[in-house]
């Protein structure tokens, strides 16, 4: 009788996303075929390019690391039914935090710098998120609107700081100077070399991947094993019930935005400190928005976010390989990525309902 068909939980978290992705790929194949290229070769290129070598894996995991952070940021907020669209701006500010810490403090060793930069990134991201959080909690300004606006403000602020404060004198690139080599993060191949596993030295995947995985666990623990998580989830499921229980909506909103912004900010540890080694205007490059799709697809669960982030890492790296080796325009690659977002996010029910029907029929028959 419920509007949502009953599907076993395992099917909800595996079958539905798998079918959605399969549908998206089927439609993409038609598009590739329509522009006169071979869909089979394209798929092969994407899969081999993303997973066929340690080089491909390295890039896939590098992108996935970004998406884990921003995906977690969106899903934590969504547990409280707050739609944090501001991951982009929060990550930008996180990048600023990383840059200031790496540039202005002489660190003896990357490990200390990593701790400080992580704290700085989280702090800056959280500070940027708390303003919309406060406005929602105390003034009722809708968080979707304010976080979007704050993306633009963050970009402008960063532009100003890069051009007028951090830019290398004489350089026309609005970017900070390169960080000192002491704060270069160990890359995955260096870490794997310690245990004797050979890995491509090229891709920028670095120790931030471990932080991202750690964050998945921490977010899961926070949400389902602490009182704060309990309050966040109760507030998200039912605000009247949370109020009844004496959970302050304003306080939870602000806490959640702090955590969400902090997670988004942490993304900069991977992109800015791990890869670019300097702060550029475009440091976040849309990962804040991809995080929304990742959270949607990951059902707002940290482990789902992890898997969805790998998928989007694959789409990015596989898409790059497509662009390199086939004459498929960049726009079509964006279309393929968008189709996956569309099918897993917006058209979720299109897949869910037939699956629910199949389960209902099987149950009646069985």
């Amino acid at each position: 009788m419920s509007s949502r068909g009953k599907i076993p939980h395992w099917a909800d978290v595996t079958l539905v996303p798998l079918f959605s992705v399969a549908l998206a790929f089927a439609l993409s194949a038609v598009l590739i075929w329509a522009i006169g290229e071979s869909p089979w070769q394209a798929v092969k290129l994407m899969v081999e390019g993303a997973f066929g070598s340690s080089y491909g894996w390295g890039y896939t995991l590098f992108y996935a690391t970004n998406f884990i952070f921003t995906g977690l940021a969106v899903s934590v907020a969504f547990q409280a039914r707050l739609f944090n669209i501001g991951g982009e701006g929060q990550a930008l500010l996180g990048g600023l935090g990383v840059a200031l810490i790496c540039l202005y403090i002489p660190w003896p060793h990357w490990s200390v710098a990593l701790i400080a930069a992580s704290l700085g990134a989280a702090l800056f991201g959280a500070a940027w998120a708390i303003i919309p959080g406060y406005l929602q909690a105390k003034r009722g300004s809708h968080i979707v609107i304010t976080t979007i606006m704050f993306n633009f403000i963050a970009a402008s602020l960063l532009g100003y700081i890069l051009v007028n404060v951090l830019r290398v004198p004489g350089s026309q690139d609005p970017a900070s100077p390169r960080f000192p080599s002491e704060v270069a993060l160990p890359k995955l191949h260096e870490m794997l070399a310690l245990v004797g596993i050979p890995f491509s030295t090229v891709p920028p995947v670095n120790i931030a991947l471990l932080i991202a995985i750690g964050m998945c666990f921490m977010v899961w623990y926070m949400l389902w094993r602490t009182r704060l998580g309990y309050q966040i989830r109760a507030f998200g499921e039912s605000e009247p019930a949370a109020q009844y229980a004496g959970i302050s909506p304003a306080r939870i909103t602000i806490y959640v935005m702090l955590i969400s912004g902090g997670l988004a900010g942490l993304m900069a540890v991977n992109a800015v400190m791990g890869e670019q080694q300097r702060l550029v205007m475009n440091a976040v490059e849309g990962a804040g928005f991809i995080g929304i799709a990742v959270a949607l697809m990951g059902r707002n669960h940290p482990f789902g976010v992890f898997l969805a982030a790998i998928l989007f890492g694959f789409l990015y790296q596989g898409g790059a390989e497509l662009a390199l080796w086939m004459s498929i325009p960049r726009e079509l690659i964006v279309v393929i990525q968008a189709l996956v977002i569309l099918f897993t996010g917006a058209l979720d029910n299109m897949v869910r309902m037939p699956i629910a029907r199949v389960f209902a029929r099987r149950k009646r028959a069985g």
Partner: protein, 519 residues
């Protein structure tokens, strides 16, 4: 099933039957909502259908009105086999339905609502004129007075319901189905409705009345069918049955309709309320200076038609709304606004609260039973060994015990709240609130949407809490419940207290008048 005399007598000629259902079954996934149901409704009678929540009454009527299709079975209307794939076919077959939640366009006039979807042609003017004439006739014949040009949003609930009936009659319905029609009405509005229904019956219309109130069945129906767990368990001629028999048929065992209650032993005053005022977010003054007291070991019942300030009173006392005035608990003032005015602070003062709307406030429907047991008590140190760890296992253990003590079925702490029936949801809330042994229990509509078996249990628990020395403030729109449980009764109307009565010195008629503001 053995047919008894009255059923045998009903074997009337098929031509006398307005509706006959044969072997109707309907399943939703694993849930068998209707099992092989057969029923015969004679033309020109009022036929009651009773049953507990979830017994399958609404499903059956939805099949009859074309919202669902039966998995198997046949429908005969006026003796002819009829397919009803959608509600349009139902209307064509002469069936009209008045839903529990009205389906009216709030900012349309009565007339516009009546013709909506049944316009004679693309031009509205002739339809409106015809409807106006018809409304005038109906008003004269059946006391169905409604101003045709009034906007729906300006009408009282009772009048809105009349519009729903008019809608059905405008579509030339011969068979009228009413789903729990009195749930939203005052006693006098309900009486008026029943006069209308009797008038319609005399005109030869057939009426099916779905309700869980046995008194209404006894008052207005000619025959009554009882459903239990998706099955039709019996049909009786109303004059030949009794509320006790019907209740037993509904529940499947003997039930006590009258609450056994030892006399109260009131102690010292626990709560004192002085000139309490509350203005809601829309700027409407909901409480206009309320003063009363409640003592230990006493159940104070607050009667009133829904929307006269009782809900707000309950929420002000529970710390969910801010107010002006004075509230003393054990001679100590409770903050009525700002810090210290929230659910958490009230619980710390040993005030427990069973909210009126358990699905919106009392429970998080998507939470497991055990998570709901911690709701509001999630700061309990037993559940939190440290701020960084919530001991889920401890809550789970606690929940198992509380579910057992309150006979919550199924006794599965991992089941989500939405998976329990209304009665078991309410038991879950009560288990949580009562097990903390509060000094004062605020309880709103404790048995709304709860089946008879659970009502009995809930009433006993409230009395047991009272006998243990707690004060209970009971808000209910069910007069029967107020009369049965209360040791003292206050009637509220329009944010004011109309008066106080002792239950054995008053009756439903007097309270009904006070509830309507006439004292």
């Amino acid at each position: 099933m053995v047919l008894n005399d009255s059923q045998m007598r009903q074997e009337t000629a098929a031509s006398d039957l307005a509706i006959e259902l044969r072997g109707i079954s309907k399943a939703f996934g694993p849930v068998q909502a209707n099992k092989d149901i057969s029923i015969r409704v004679r033309r020109g009678t009022i036929h009651g259908i009773v049953g507990e929540n979830g017994a399958g009454k609404s499903t059956l009527m939805s099949i009859l009105f074309g919202f669902y299709r039966a998995d198997s079975g046949e429908i005969f209307i006026n003796g002819k086999p009829t397919e009803i794939p959608d509600s349009e076919s139902a209307i064509r077959a002469g069936i009209g339905m008045v839903f529990q939640h009205f389906k009216l366009v709030e900012n349309f006039t009565v007339l516009e609502n009546v013709i909506l979807g049944a316009e004679d042609s693309g031009l509205l003017r002739p339809s409106l004129a015809r409807a106006r004439g018809l409304l005038k006739d109906l008003a004269r014949e059946f006391e169905l007075n409604v101003d045709p040009d009034a906007l729906i949003e300006d009408l009282s609930v009772g009048h809105q319901q009349r519009v729903e009936i008019l809608k059905a009659l405008y579509r030339e319905a011969d068979i009228l189905i009413l789903d729990e029609p009195t749930g939203v009405l005052t006693p006098s509005e309900a009486d008026h409705l029943f006069r209308i229904l009797k008038g319609l019956k005399e005109q030869g219309k057939t009426i099916i009345l779905i309700t869980h109130k046995l008194r209404e069945i006894m008052d207005v129906t000619d025959e009554v069918s009882v459903m239990r767990r998706g099955e039709m368990v019996a049909t009786r001629v109303t004059a030949e049955t009794s509320p006790t028999e019907l209740a037993e048929l509904m529940v499947g065992r003997k039930v006590l309709l009258r609450v056994e209650k030892p006399p109260a032993q009131p102690g010292a005053e626990v709560l004192r309320v002085e000139s309490l005022r509350h203005v809601d977010s829309q700027g409407v003054e909901r409480l206009r200076g309320i003063s009363f007291g409640i003592r230990k070991g006493e159940i104070l019942g607050i009667a009133g038609v829904s929307g006269n300030g009782q809900s707000e009173l309950l929420e002000v006392l529970a710390g969910l709304r801010e107010a002006e005035g004075k509230v003393l608990l054990d001679n100590e003032a409770l903050p009525l606004s700002g810090a210290g005015c929230d659910g958490q602070a009230r619980r710390a003062r040993r005030i427990a609260h069973v909210p009126e709307d358990r699905q919106r406030r009392g429970l998080v429907m998507n939470f497991h039973a055990w998570e709901n047991i911690a709701l509001g008590y999630h700061h309990d140190p037993r559940y939190n060994p440290s701020p960084w760890r919530m001991n889920n296992a401890a809550i789970l253990r606690d929940t198992t015990g509380k579910m057992e003590a309150f006979d919550v079925r199924p006794p599965d702490p991992q089941l989500k709240a939405s998976g329990f029936s209304g009665g078991n949801q309410q038991k879950l809330v009560l288990a949580r609130e009562i097990e903390y042994e509060p000094d004062l229990l605020l309880v709103g509509q404790p048995t709304r949407g709860v089946d008879i078996g659970a009502i009995e249990f809930i009433h006993q628990r409230l009395i047991r809490l009272r006998d243990a020395g707690a004060a209970v403030l009971l808000v209910s729109v069910e007069l029967d419940e107020i009369l049965a449980l209360s040791d003292r009764i206050i009637v509220m109307f329009d944010g004011r207290i109309m008066g106080e009565r002792m239950p054995d010195e008053t009756n439903a008629q007097e309270l009904g008048l006070m509830m309507a503001g006439m004292a």
